[in-house]
Symmetry: C2
Amino acid sequence: MTDQPLFFRLAVLGCGMIGASVMRAARQSGAVSEIVGYDADAGHRARVAELGIADRVAETAEAAVSGADLVILATPVLAMAEVAKAAAGALRPGATVSDVGSVKGQVAQALDEVLPRHVFLIPGHPIAGAEKSGPDAGSGELFHNRWTILTPQAREDQPYLDAVKRLADFWTALGANVETMDAEHHDLVLAVTSHLPHLIAYNIVGTAADMEAVTRSEVIKYSAGGFRDFTRIAASDPTMWRDVFLTNKEAVLEVLGRFTEDLQALSRAIRWGEGDKLHELFTRTRDIRRGVVDAGQDISAPNFGRGQH
Amino acid sequence: MTDQPLFFRLAVLGCGMIGASVMRAARQSGAVSEIVGYDADAGHRARVAELGIADRVAETAEAAVSGADLVILATPVLAMAEVAKAAAGALRPGATVSDVGSVKGQVAQALDEVLPRHVFLIPGHPIAGAEKSGPDAGSGELFHNRWTILTPQAREDQPYLDAVKRLADFWTALGANVETMDAEHHDLVLAVTSHLPHLIAYNIVGTAADMEAVTRSEVIKYSAGGFRDFTRIAASDPTMWRDVFLTNKEAVLEVLGRFTEDLQALSRAIRWGEGDKLHELFTRTRDIRRGVVDAGQDISAPNFGRGQH
């Protein structure tokens, strides 16, 4: 619990798993006094009201942001500019507008074009998630010990810097560690650590499903040999991930190109029976694992069984 | 506990994680009366003796199998023929010789060439594992609710069929579900569900480690976005996996070829901004996940955090 609320009214636009988690965590932490939720889907709005995770559910984006000093966009990234545009007229001067999207460059630019000059746009991305989606999948503990990356605009004025500081404090109150970097670097880092892994997982599950000589039931039955980890990742929300690949195209294709080159070399080593080359790579990759475990970034029990984005 | 031991003396050749798990599970289940361990590595032999998971540790493969009615080879697959050859002279008539290798076709053939005609060769593969290796990583519960695949030879004589039945009962006693299939089909199924996933995981971790613009510490720090699942798989034993790719070359290259074709199509869909195609694939892969969860093949808490082979 923080001693004083950091914001008076938080509006969350988009009440899927991440949006619902922001609402739950914000309430648990005491970081905000009041929470208003909005979702384009009437079913989600009704469910948020039933769950009682918002103080109020608004019927429009405009009504939701009215009077809010913190607005967090939590829709799939390609829907953000539209909802921001719909809300723009009701945003109060000095409000902080942020988001939780997995892509920052293209999204920040689109938001900048539709938002009024009198708000502070500070794009953000909490690196946490789950294969499950919808308001019911939200968790107040989702951000605990996870990293949230903020990608502030290139502004040096004190009010903006203060707003960045307050938003960082908000995420800290929700249990996250906060880092800042520029949007372009964020998109490259996430292309490596998140977007490519998801693309590969979707691809391998698709390939397995299409094998004629191996039935789907065999693929499922014997998935304990490694495959099931990929199925968990490949069960992530389709719309969210479609948007990620469409908006972070350049970085994803760059990283995918390198991956493909490396895979060709590996394929050749297998074809030619070059055991030493295989052994060398397989030994080198262990070091990275040690780093992940030492840094406490491995899946911990409460998040067990979840996918990520 | 079984009422009667199924075998009098079990010899386990190779006391790494899987071999040690076979010993622990065999003792816990009461499926065997006596357990003898052997490992080419003197350090492993000493550790097995200290742990007390075998009744006796032999100094040679020959001494280990002497008098045993069940011999299980649990070395990396390319070392199996050599240890089998070393033990061959001491194998008693009617003994069952099996293994735990992740590849069956080439391994079974190599074993068949060095083993005497008077033993029953029944290749096997328990689909369970962990990223950890060595005798200390062994667990008596490792095979619980996992599948063990047996790939019997094309023999119809009753003594051989009886031996297959008894070996299946042994694995059932250790907690596993048992399936039989031919070696070639096993190798294709496992290429899809285990070997390709490992190859891809090793490759993606290698690609990430070689990025100049993204530091290793960033890769580790932000690994919660999907990458860390790959690091766990890519921390599996290098020698074991080198041997898998060298001995199941044909099936792995076949499956890898399909994976690469699919990945090219996916890459093109991203480049051309074909959101519908991406969404269609990402939706389709969810069905497979449901199958994995419904079939109870998802990672369960006791095996949490482990890689597989």
